[in-house]
């Protein structure tokens, strides 16, 4: 059984459709990256998964329980941080944990709290008031409260925000460790580098639609060599690219970048020359995952993948 399953999930607010027919599945033991620029619908999707927002259409099930018809059972499977870990700043870290442990209905509360304190390494300051914490310390406490109920699915929204390099390193180690104990982890981020290092699979979301879902290794393998084309003027060339639905990035007034293999680039150049477009140079470039992400989510690229 999948840890998380979204089927045909749509959310409309007023007349605006925020999320379009989203489908995704996360399996146990998998670390799943949910990638997209700001405003692409990541947080709305997460809020629907944890029952803060009702989907207009479609179903969401967690460990086989429907989030709407079996809300309590579904939520019992989840540990989560939605956006920033907003905790009660006038309480100590420990009191915050007691607060959330009571709501999670844990049988052996005290022991479990000690366990998670150990896991995220916050023993040093857990008895201080949260208002004295740095953002990184809050993130750790946020993670601790998410782990309290022994979740089967961990949903984390931008979890490394505010963590220092050492903190990020510890965090990755912890996530990999949790995944090895068969916990499914769902991580949203707008930083590809973060996802690249932690996740098994990644979905890229843009304007409320999943535009690609694949394993991180295949994403890395796809680092097809792109080409930079220098032209006298890019206006005509870019409109041709748009017509032919070829994704590209405008680097500057004279440079366009396309993601095509060699034969197709030759074909393109031949076509551009036949249209009397002056080409200064064509250079192969080594593309990073970051570039690919930019191409996939750029507005100029037209439709990327059906």
């Amino acid at each position: 059984m999948s840890a998380l399953k979204l089927q045909n999930v749509t959310k409309k607010i007023g007349t605006k459709t925020i999320i379009h027919q989203l489908d995704l599945t996360v399996n146990a033991g998998e670390v799943y990256g949910f990638l997209g620029p700001n405003g692409s619908g990541k947080t709305t999707t997460i809020r629907m998964m944890v029952g803060l927002i009702k989907p207009t259409n479609g179903t969401i099930s967690i460990g086989g329980y429907d989030i709407r018809s079996e809300r309590a059972k579904a939520l019992a499977q989840i540990g989560t941080i939605v956006e920033n870990p907003e905790l009660y700043s006038y309480l100590t870290g420990r009191k915050n944990l007691i607060h959330f442990a009571r709501l999670a209905g844990i049988s052996n509360m005290k022991a479990r709290i000690e366990e998670v304190i150990e896991m995220v390494d916050i023993k040093e300051y857990v008895d201080d008031k949260v208002k004295t914490y740095s953002l990184g310390m809050r993130q750790r406490l946020g993670l601790a409260q998410a782990l309290l109920g022994n979740p089967k699915l961990l949903i984390l929204d931008e979890p490394t925000n505010g963590l220092d390099p050492e903190g990020i390193h510890d965090f990755r180690k912890l996530i990999r460790h949790l995944a090895s104990t068969d916990i499914a982890v769902f991580i949203s981020s707008h930083l590809l580098s973060e996802i690249e290092l932690m996740c098994d699979r990644v979905a890229i979301i843009k304007s409320g639609k999943v535009i690609t879902e694949q394993s991180v290794t295949s994403l890395i393998e796809q680092k097809t060599s792109g080409y930079q084309i220098q032209l006298k003027d890019t206006t005509l060339a870019s409109s041709i690219l748009k017509d032919q639905k070829i994704p590209y990035i405008q680097i500057d007034q004279q440079t366009l970048q396309v993601q095509l293999d060699e034969p197709r680039v030759q074909e393109l150049i031949g076509f551009l020359v036949s249209q009397n477009i002056m080409i200064h140079s064509v250079q192969p470039i080594q593309e990073t995952l970051e570039d690919q992400f930019l191409i996939l989510t750029s507005d100029k690229g037209g439709v990327i993948r059906a």
Binding site: R47, R71, A72, Y88, H99, Q145
Partner: protein
């Protein structure tokens, strides 16, 4: 049920760790004790003019006046007419007479056989009541006095003199002052951000993603709001009473007090009863028809309970504001506006009915049971509607 109690335990934990909780309690203590002490100081000041010594002094001056006037009458050289002087002498004599009468009456009540004295007085008053020449207001006043005296005779309870104010009387007066607006404001400070602070600070997201239903969170918070109001209200009245008890002493617990006096506005004519001419004036006339007489100690307990109950209705309204508005500041202002406007307008006069009914400064339009039933029904319906809304709404931006 178990989950609800855990939600409530959480809410109490959050409440006692917040500064505003202790600020409210501190304010309540300062005001309750301050009010009692300042009331006691006023009373001490007024005691001087009631004291035996000051009365003797007044009597002495009046007697000297009399001597002077009598001498003036004998003195032929006086510029005034003898008939004028005689008139003045008569006035001073009557004054002296009434002073002596008052002092004698007090002495009689305080040290003598007050019962015989009262029985005679009662007979006189009953006779007076039958006298048709009395207007409605005076008749009602006499009737009230008569009922009170009957009770005192029946229960062998010596009436208190003006110099013997009891802690019960003081508490009764101060309770009315406290519950008008001060306690409502304390309730606003405590309850107004019960829900909205969670929305403002975003903690509502972590609260609502637990396997506890939203309804339980809602009702848990509501019940905690009611409980803290109950503790605060009763606590305030207890502090008030204990301070007064320390200041005035424990006497006067069994003095009679009226419950359910209704007042209706009537035209009263002092010169010609019943006639609606230029001497008629509009005044509130008490009606003792459905009155119950209970001892003072019961009266203040009853009053404290009803006042606290009406505070809980206020707490419910404030809690609903807290759920409706997502910003703490707006929900607090809205609650304050409701409380202040409520005091200005008649409809919360209805809400405040409990205390008004007890203090009796209103016409008897609604009986108490009807009021209790109406307010309970109103609160329950409002809370159910709000909880349904809370249960369904999307948490979009918090």
């Amino acid at each position: 049920m178990h989950e609800l109690s855990r939600v409530m335990a959480n809410e109490f934990m959050k409440l006692i760790h917040r500064l505003r909780m202790w600020f409210t309690v501190g304010l309540m203590l300062v005001v309750a004790i301050g009010l009692s002490v300042s009331g006691y100081m006023n009373y001490q000041n007024s005691l001087n003019s009631y004291s035996q010594a000051s009365r003797q002094q007044v009597l002495g001056t009046q007697e000297q006046n009399l001597k002077k006037l009598e001498q003036e009458l004998k003195d032929k050289k006086s510029s005034r007419k003898p008939s004028d002087i005689k008139k003045e002498i008569a006035v001073v004599r009557a004054d002296i007479q009434s002073w002596k009468g008052l002092m004698q009456k007090e002495q009689q009540i305080r040290f003598g056989d007050w019962k015989t004295f009262f029985k005679n007085d009662l007979q006189k008053r009953t006779r007076d009541l039958k006298n048709s020449k009395l207007n409605v207001a005076s008749a009602a006043k006499l009737e009230g006095k008569r009922l009170q005296m009957e009770y005192q005779l029946q229960h062998d309870e010596r009436p208190l003199l003006l110099t013997e104010k009891s802690s019960y009387q003081a508490t009764n007066e101060q309770m009315t002052n406290m519950s008008r607006i001060f306690l409502s404001i304390l309730v606003v400070i405590l309850v107004a951000d019960m829900m909205s602070s969670e929305t403002t600070h975003g903690t509502i997201k972590l609260l609502l993603v637990r396997p506890v239903s939203r309804l339980k969170i809602f009702f848990g918070k509501w019940l905690v709001s009611l409980t803290i109001t109950l503790i605060l209200g009763l606590g305030c009245f207890i502090v008030l009473f204990l301070t007064n008890l320390a200041l005035y002493g424990s006497h006067g617990a069994f003095q009679p007090n009226f419950l359910g006096v209704s007042y209706s506005p009537m035209y009263v004519n002092d010169v010609n009863p019943g006639a609606l001419n230029e001497h008629a004036r509009l005044t509130l006339v008490p009606n003792y028809e459905h009155v119950t007489i209970i001892p003072d100690w019961q009266f203040i307990i009853f009053k404290a309970c009803l006042n606290t109950l009406s505070m809980m209705v206020v707490a419910t309204i404030v809690f609903l504001c807290s759920t409706a508005f997502r910003s703490s500041m707006i929900s607090t202002s809205a609650s304050l506006a409701v409380v202040v406007l409520g005091n200005l307008f008649q409809w919360t006069g209805f809400i405040d009915k409990f205390s008004k009914w007890v203090t009796g400064v209103t016409s008897n339009t609604y009986p108490i049971l009807f009021t209790v039933a109406f307010l309970s029904l109103f609160s329950i319906v409002a809370v159910i509607l709000a909880s349904r809304h809370f249960n369904r709404r999307d948490v979009l931006n918090a």
